[in-house]
């Protein structure tokens, strides 16, 4: 865990927030596809397929981050690193739940 350099802080911050950031990207993509897709000539089926694909990728990305953080070994200040790693994992779990909840909409709302 970098202590002094801003670049280290930015890296740590991005990792900490990776779950919610992926949720936000997923949300923007599926809402954007729904809102703007029609204007670009995409069909409803195409938009839904895109949203499912985005959901799959977002879910996989969050899972990968969870696993990566789980395997991370502390190098410097173990207490801070462990604590931030646990926070990152919890945020990933919550974000995955939110992504899946958005996907549920695709499953239950008729075309």
């Amino acid at each position: 865990m970098s202590s002094g350099r801003p670049s280290g802080f930015v890296r740590a911050l991005l990792l900490l927030l990776s779950g919610p950031l992926i949720w936000f990207a997923h949300f923007s993509l599926i809402y954007g596809a729904q809102g703007f897709g029609g204007a670009f000539g995409f069909t409803t089926g195409g938009i839904r397929a895109f949203a499912w694909a985005a959901t799959f990728i977002a879910g996989a990305a969050i899972a990968a981050i969870y696993v990566r953080v789980q395997r991370q070994r502390p190098s410097s200040d173990p207490e801070t690193v462990r604590s931030l790693a646990r926070t990152t994992r919890w945020l990933a779990v919550l974000s995955l739940g939110a992504v899946l909840l958005q996907a549920l909409v695709l499953a239950v709302i008729p075309r």
Binding site: G4, P6, P20, A39, T80, S83, G97, A98, V105
Partner: protein, 849 residues
């Protein structure tokens, strides 16, 4: 300049006696101004307290407006207030509560308490904090004063067009909202920048992020949300004011505009705003509950997770407020799902507080009562929130009193009750004695019972069909008794608030040098002994509740046995630490009292207010005066390396000046650029949104008004060249004595000229096609891209000229270069945004066509 962080030494507390005169020198440096010069105070304790006082004043004023409304609605067919005045009252009540009370008061408490919680002597930009406060106070008072001249806005606190368009609101009432609120939000953003940098860079050594007090976490999320949410509404107010003042038709369907664009932009800010208000209040609750229960907070980490997750998820809810606007069902369902998702992190916090209460022994003090009241009311508000997140229910309850009840349960319950808990809890930290338990209990019960008597029946009123914002109603609808009950309840709340104010008047005396001490036996650093300089020495933090874990800590800190027990450079200072591990990096010399930031605020406020009433020339004069005051203020803010590295204790020597990414001002500039980027993204969204609504006014179908490709290419080349020139100037500055200062000055001057030419070329390219901003929504957006880029270009050029002036004055050297670094950051950002703007304005119609 090295930005290395030092490891923490052992051997603390230092048992050696402190040198004579050390404390006296510290007191002299931090002595507050007296008499009329109190207006120049910048210290966080003074500005924080002024801020809290002003916010409470606006709370009382907006509360009086609510009472007037309740008197009007007490009986059917009442003619106590006219319809027009009633419209102004509900608009001003909502606007003042949201913009002049709720956000400022939590920002104020942050400014007041965060340095104490982090054992910092002050926040890193005290004059920015003072500027934010004075602009807010002056602007807020004038905004509120518009009521007495019949000029107050009357379109509801969310000011939907077309009601607020020139056609339906031709008078200046709406302009007061648009200019006044847009400008007050700039003050909120200034405060947010101060808070972000303060939390990340001025913590006590050892206060790693996992030991950060929960209130600080909540303020960090709060400030981050302001950075990303507020620019959307600033853009919205800018667009609507452009439409009203110059007929640029963003929201007029006949010209390809859409009133729903306003709703998207407003609620992209407006829904996070609810959490912007709630999260700091939740942070206060998380500080008070463990103290009152005598146990550590249960689920600290989960609460941090919940705060961060709420901050994010709240940005996926804005259409939650637009369910009745005819949006496609799949979109509605996305937002409905997100509205339910956000209930999860909110629930985590509620369960953590309940678990903490269950695991300890709750003392039934006044703060505890307000917390319990908050829990009950907020949970009810949360549950009705889930109800209105369900689209079919929302269609039934939309624009009825059910919504009025729900929003008050969330906002009053979720924010005002914790605020009163906080007042009773923290007054002993800044005053000579605690407030009265007896009066406090009266205040609580009057407010709690009054609140439920006022607002619970409104659920029923709403379900019975009473719409909100009606100034009267006929007597045969069965609404009479419930309305009368609500009015009685409102006066009970007012009495409760009055009792608290009497308590404050009787028992609160601001005594930063002599506070009541740790009367609650709390464990966090805000309860260390303090003076105008903060803590006598800055301790090493080894746990989340240092005072509980080390009973001698207060005494040792007070005796100067930790870091920086005096003034190392003879000036006001605070310790800069690394963002994650909080290891000492440098000493920051913070500026002291000044008229410059005060006058900058006065003239800035005057500029916007005069503009609102269309006194253009006086406004311009005040704008120039504000600019001069700001430049005079900024002239003093880059002191350079005026002192050799200093010993802060424990054998640690740190520099007194940092440059580049390690400097606190670099961090502030990056946050400011994030604000600018958020506003730009909102503009891009507006462009794409209106394109989907009215593609027929876009050039791809009309076949005209698109400049030849060479215009944007030449403009882009000029922008890139300007960036390159500034980058080269940076190298020239680094080369310093070898080449002298003139190449740098010439480089910046040339870069300014090229940047201006690049922008002008874009403007000319569009202008020569015959396109005019009032032609259509497309044209208005194209010119808005140019105007916003123009503002950035103008700012960058002013900063470049400022940098050149400092170089000529000998205040810019290879070491003393913070001014240049900030100019360079803004410069490159302006170029990047300009290039993306060119791509969208000139590329998108060609691609989409």
């Amino acid at each position: 300049m090295s930005d290395e962080a030092h490891t923490l030494p052992s051997g603390y507390p230092n048992p050696l006696p402190r040198p004579k005169g050390e404390l006296e020198r510290l007191e002299a440096v931090w002595a507050p101004p007296t008499g009329i010069r109190i207006l120049t105070a910048v210290n966080n304790t003074y500005i924080g307290l002024f801020y809290v006082g002003a916010a409470l004043l606006f709370f009382v004023l907006a509360g009086i407006l609510a009472l007037l409304m309740r008197v009007q609605l007490a009986v059917p067919g009442n003619d106590f207030i006219s319809q027009g005045t009633y419209n102004q009252l509900f608009t001003m009540h909502g606007t003042v509560m949201m913009f002049l009370f709720a956000v400022p008061v939590v920002e104020a408490i942050g400014i007041l308490l965060l340095p104490q919680m982090q054992a910092a002597r002050d926040l890193p930009f005290p004059r920015l904090g003072a500027f934010a406060f004075w602009t807010y106070l002056i602007g807020g008072l004038f905004f509120f004063g518009s009521l007495f001249f019949g000029l107050a806005p009357d379109g509801g606190w969310f000011m939907y067009p077309p009601l607020t368009s020139t056609e339906y609101s031709p008078a200046e009432n709406a302009d007061f909202w648009l200019v006044g609120i847009g400008f007050i939000e700039i003050s909120a953003i200034a405060g947010a920048i101060e808070i972000i940098v303060g939390i990340l860079r001025t913590r006590a050594p050892g206060m790693t992020l996992d030991k950060l007090p929960i209130f600080a976490w909540s303020m960090l999320v709060f400030a981050g949300m302001i950075v990303f949410a507020f620019p959307a509404v600033i853009l919205a107010t800018f667009l609507l004011e452009l439409e009203r003042a110059f007929a640029w038709p963003f929201f007029i369907p006949e010209f390809g505009g859409d009133p729903l664009l306003w709703q998207h932009l407003f609620w992209f800010f407006g829904h996070p705003e609810v959490y912007i208000i709630f999260l700091p209040a939740a942070g206060m609750v998380s500080m008070i509950v463990p103290t009152m229960c005598g146990v550590p907070l249960v689920g600290y980490r989960l609460i941090v997770v919940a705060l961060v997750a709420t901050g994010f998820f709240s940005f996926g809810l804005w259409v939650h407020h637009m369910f009745a606007t005819g949006i496609p069902s799949l979109s509605l369902a996305f937002f409905s799902a997100a509205s339910m998702a956000v209930a999860v992190p909110s629930g985590i916090q509620v369960f953590a507080w309940i678990a903490t209460i269950a695991s300890g022994r709750l003392r039934f003090t006044v703060p505890s009562l307000f917390i319990l009241g908050f829990l009950a009311i907020f949970v009810i508000g949360g549950l009705t929130g889930v109800m209105v997140a369900l689209v079919p229910f929302d269609w039934q309850a939309h624009d009825t009193f059910f919504i009025v009840a729900h929003l008050h349960y969330v906002l009053f319950g979720g924010m005002v009750f914790p605020l009163f808990a906080a007042i009773y809890y923290w007054v002993p930290a800044v005053g000579r004695k605690p407030l009265s338990e007896r009066l406090g209990r009266w205040s609580f019960w009057l407010m709690f019972v009054g609140f439920n008597v006022t607002f619970f029946p409104m659920h029923i009123l709403g379900l019975m069909g009473m719409p909100r914002r009606v100034y009267t109603y006929p007597e045969n609808l069965g609404w009479d008794g419930i309305n009368l009950l609500s009015t009685l309840g409102a006066f009970m709340i007012a009495t409760g608030v009055l009792v608290c104010l009497i308590d404050l008047a009787r028992n609160f005396r601001f005594t930063p040098s002599e506070n009541a001490g740790n009367v609650w036996q709390a464990g966090t650093l805000d309860w260390l002994p303090t003076d105008v300089y903060g803590n006598r020495s800055i301790p090493i933090v080894t746990s989340r509740e240092p005072l509980r874990d080390d009973p001698k800590l207060s005494k040792d800190v007070e005796a100067g046995r930790y870091f920086l027990p005096g003034t190392a450079t003879g000036k006001r200072e605070t310790l800069i630490t690394s963002a994650i591990d909080a290891l000492p990096q440098a000493i920051l010399q913070v500026p002291g009292p000044s008229w410059r930031s005060f006058f900058a605020a006065v003239f800035t406020a005057a500029f916007f207010l005069l503009l609102t009433v269309k006194l253009v020339w006086p406004a311009i004069a005040c704008g120039i005066a504000a600019l001069v005051a700001m430049i005079a203020w900024l002239w003093q803010t880059d002191p350079g390396r005026n002192h050799a590295p200093v010993d802060i204790g424990g054998g640690i020597k740190v520099p007194v000046y940092l440059t580049g990414p390690a400097s606190h001002s670099w961090w502030a500039m990056v946050v400011l650029l994030l604000v600018a980027a958020s506003m730009f993204i909102a503009l891009v969204f507006s462009y794409l949104y209106l394109w989907t609504v009215s593609p027929d006014v876009w050039p791809a179908t009309t076949g005209e008004h698109l400049p030849a490709a060479h215009w944007p290419f030449i403009s882009a080349a000029a922008l890139l060249l300007a960036s390159l020139a500034v980058a080269l100037s940076g190298r020239m500055l680094a080369a310093g004595a070898k080449i002298g200062p003139w190449p740098l000055r010439a480089g910046l001057a040339a870069a300014s000229a090229v940047l201006a030419v690049g922008w002008l070329l874009d403007l000319c390219g569009v202008w020569q096609t015959g396109l005019r901003p009032d032609d259509s929504s497309y044209a208005a957006l194209v010119y808005t891209f140019i105007v916003i880029e123009g503002l950035l270009v103008a700012s960058a050029i002013v900063m470049a000229l400022f940098t050149i002036a400092r170089s000529i004055a000998g205040l810019l050297t290879p070491i003393r270069r913070v001014t240049f670094d900030n100019t360079m950051l803004l410069w490159h950002y302006a170029v990047a945004q300009g290039l993306i703007g060119l791509l969208i304005v000139h590329g998108f119609p060609r691609i989409a066509g």
